[in-house]
């Protein structure tokens, strides 16, 4: 059990590439932190620096109250679960679990007790004498978890541990990891590129982009108050709609709007000027017929292109503007696309012209140049 704190941590590779650009954060004891971001955002590098597998170019990493910058991975009191599990193929499951304890000179009966206990928790008791090769993906994943928990470390580090599993097993293991972490109460840092995994597991999310932190916060507040267009488009599926507009006298106009196209938008109370991006989540659009637009709401007319049913609901892909010339057969490629959640019963045809509104408090204004959220 320990806190982990990062202070201006940087990673600069020999070629001069800066993979991690001054990351600072404090992880509380027992907290489940998820580092999430697209590939190449530095999340794995950051995790490997905490583990000690990657040298720290600048800054300080503390585990507990010990600065671990120059401490070997073995002595940092952490355990890591790798993406490919990294099970020792020539050892039985039992020996895989016992290896780390033997290296630390734990007495034999204590090793046996801990391995049996971990096997019981993870329900792998029946496979202890098998080699990893004889296990399924899910079972290997459990053994990898077991190897981490027998050590009873101060922190667990997970490097995309579920990405090699099939979709169903991934959901199951996700729940199990969360349950396990809560019952053990061990501080955990979990790296993933899957925003859904990140949302469901995290006590706090850390969204990384280009080696820097975009936003830290609990999953719901990150979802509801994204700090930038990057976070807005990364968290949530389908992604938040981002509509570039200019505002004049309380009316938003599409940047790409042509004279012939007519107004597709009206909306929010922002200072006059160009250079806004308005973000609206697909589920926050309401048909204009059901909800008259209040001042400050965003209303827009769209031409449907595709209806994508996913079962419980459907997603309507559309282009902004009720341009009859496009007539639905040829999408107006200049106009921005939007995704709108509609009830599963909706039966929209391509080319239909529809009107939607989004309530003022569901519109996220961003500065187009910096991508940062504009506080309201």
């Amino acid at each position: 059990m320990a806190t982990i704190s990062l202070e201006e941590v940087r990673k600069i590779y020999a070629g001069g590439v800066e993979a991690v650009k001054g990351v600072s954060m404090d992880i509380a004891d027992g907290e489940f932190i998820v580092l999430v971001g697209p590939s190449g955002c530095g999340k794995s590098t950051l995790l490997r620096m905490i583990a000690g597998l990657e040298e720290i170019s600048a800054g300080t990493i503390r585990i507990g109250d010990r600065v671990v910058n120059r401490i070997d991975p073995a002595d940092r009191d952490i355990a890591m679960v790798f993406q490919n599990y990294a099970l020792y193929p020539h050892m039985s499951v039992y020996n895989n679990l016992a290896y780390g304890l033997r290296n630390r000179g734990v007495p034999k009966d204590e090793i046996d007790r801990r391995v049996k206990e971990a096997a019981r928790i993870l329900e792998i008791g029946a496979f202890l004498e098998r080699k990893p090769k004889a296990l399924s993906g899910g079972q290997r994943q459990r053994v990898a978890m077991g190897r981490a928990i027998v050590r009873e470390p101060a922190a667990f580090l997970f490097d995309e541990p579920l990405s090699n599993l099939d979709a169903k097993l991934r959901v199951q293991m996700r729940v199990e990891i969360k349950r396990l972490q809560k019952s053990l109460g061990t501080t955990s840092v979990y790296v993933t590129h899957d925003q859904l995994e990140a949302m469901t597991l995290a006590d706090r999310l850390v969204v990384l982009n280009g080696g820097a932190i975009e936003q830290i916060g609990d999953p719901i507040s990150v979802y509801e108050q994204p700090a930038s267009t990057f976070v807005a488009s990364f968290i949530g599926s389908p992604a938040m709609n981002l509509i570039p507009v200019s505002v004049r006298d309380g009316r938003a106009t599409l940047d790409s709007e042509t004279a012939a196209g007519g107004s597709g938008l009206s909306g929010p109370d922002l200072a006059n000027g160009a250079g806004y991006t308005l973000g609206v989540r697909p589920e926050h659009f309401v048909p204009a017929s059901e909800r008259p637009a209040d001042p400050g709401d965003l209303s827009l007319t769209v031409t449907t292109t595709v209806l994508e049913p996913v079962g419980a609901e459907s997603y309507l892909y559309a282009t902004i503007g009720g341009d009859s010339a496009a007539n639905g057969t040829v999408a107006n490629s200049a106009a921005p696309h939007v995704v709108i959640r509609v009830p599963a019963a909706a039966r929209h045809q391509p080319g239909e012209v529809l009107s939607f509104t989004a309530p003022a408090d569901r519109i996220h204004p961003f500065d187009k140049a910096t991508g940062k959220r504009i506080p309201r």
Binding site: G52, L53, P73, I78, F82, A86, P89, H90, Y99, N103
Partner: protein
């Protein structure tokens, strides 16, 4: 493993396509091998005037001959030393190169060159280096107080041929070990590092066991090499001497047959060698696939 099969509609064509390989194997292997077996039952005088069929007399004579038994022992010592030295050094070099990020391909290329050197040339090279009169190594050793002379000292002679034979084989072993090392996922070693194993412990408990298929394969290949392909090295350096101390089986076949003109005994020896090759090949095919550590 599922392999793609082609069915030939024509009955003759497959044999025709196989013919070149079969002809070569027949002419260059089965025919001389058959001759050797036949010859091993014969006793012939040095000039080829009279040939007598003597059943197994050549074989029984061999196993009563202290020189032959000595040669067996020399071969054993030689093969084990060559295999151990060349495998050990190759593994050491491969581990070093595996850690390199920059310049690894340069080292690899340079380390491969000795393999391209013909055995006889390798022999001559080391013969020069170790020459008691003009060689640089005996000169240095003399300064250090050791009087090197492989023409008189059996141990010196054995060391010379072992070094020369190993030097050439290191390249071959090196490239296999390097490939083997690079196929071990880095995350395994990282996991072991987090599990508290130091570099040496990691090497002996993770890397080496995972290399065991490669090591076993190379061990068989090296023993075969030391026993059969080192003729040129022996011939160019010690010629089996001094006092039979480097007279390995292959060299003795040549020496007894072509120098001593005892063709029957020489043939019997090569039949025994053939048996050893068959045994080693069998071991290789039987266990190299199976004795995989995981």
């Amino acid at each position: 493993m599922q392999t793609k099969r082609t069915i030939f509609p024509n009955k003759v064509l497959p044999y025709f396509l196989l013919a070149p390989q079969l002809v070569i194997t027949g002419i260059f292997f089965f025919w001389p091998a058959g001759q050797a077996i036949w010859q091993s039952f014969l006793r012939e005088d040095a000039f080829g005037f009279k040939t007598t069929f003597v059943w197994l007399a050549n074989y029984t004579a061999l196993f009563e001959d202290p020189n032959y038994l000595n040669s067996l022992q020399v071969t054993l010592v030689f093969s084990v030393c060559v295999a151990a030295l060349s495998l050990g050094l190759a593994l050491l070099l491969a581990v070093c190169v595996d850690r390199l990020i920059k310049g690894a391909s340069g080292y690899t290329t340079l380390l491969l060159w000795p393999y391209a050197v013909a055995p006889a040339i390798a022999g001559v090279l080391w013969w020069f280096l170790f020459n008691p009169t003009i060689g640089i190594l005996p000169f240095i050793m003399e300064r250090l107080g050791y009087n090197w002379d492989h023409a008189l000292n059996s141990t010196d002679a054995m060391i010379l041929v072992v070094v020369a034979a190993s030097w050439k084989q290191i390249s071959y072993n090196f490239i296999f070990f390097l490939a083997g090392l690079q196929s071990i996922p880095l995350s395994l070693r990282e996991a072991a590092a987090i599990d508290g194993a130091g570099p040496f412990k990691r090497f002996f408990t993770i890397t080496l066991p995972l290399l065991s298929p490669t090591s076993f394969f190379l061990m068989v290949v090296n023993v075969v090499y030391a026993m059969f392909d080192t003729f040129g090295i022996i011939h160019a350096t010690t010629e089996g001497g001094p006092a039979q101390s480097t007279n390995i089986l292959v060299y003795k076949v040549y020496a007894d047959g072509f120098i001593g003109l005892n063709l029957g005994s020489s043939a019997a020896q090569s039949v025994i060698l053939m048996g050893i090759v068959i045994l080693l090949t069998f071991v290789q095919f039987r266990y190299v696939e199976r004795r995989v550590a995981y």
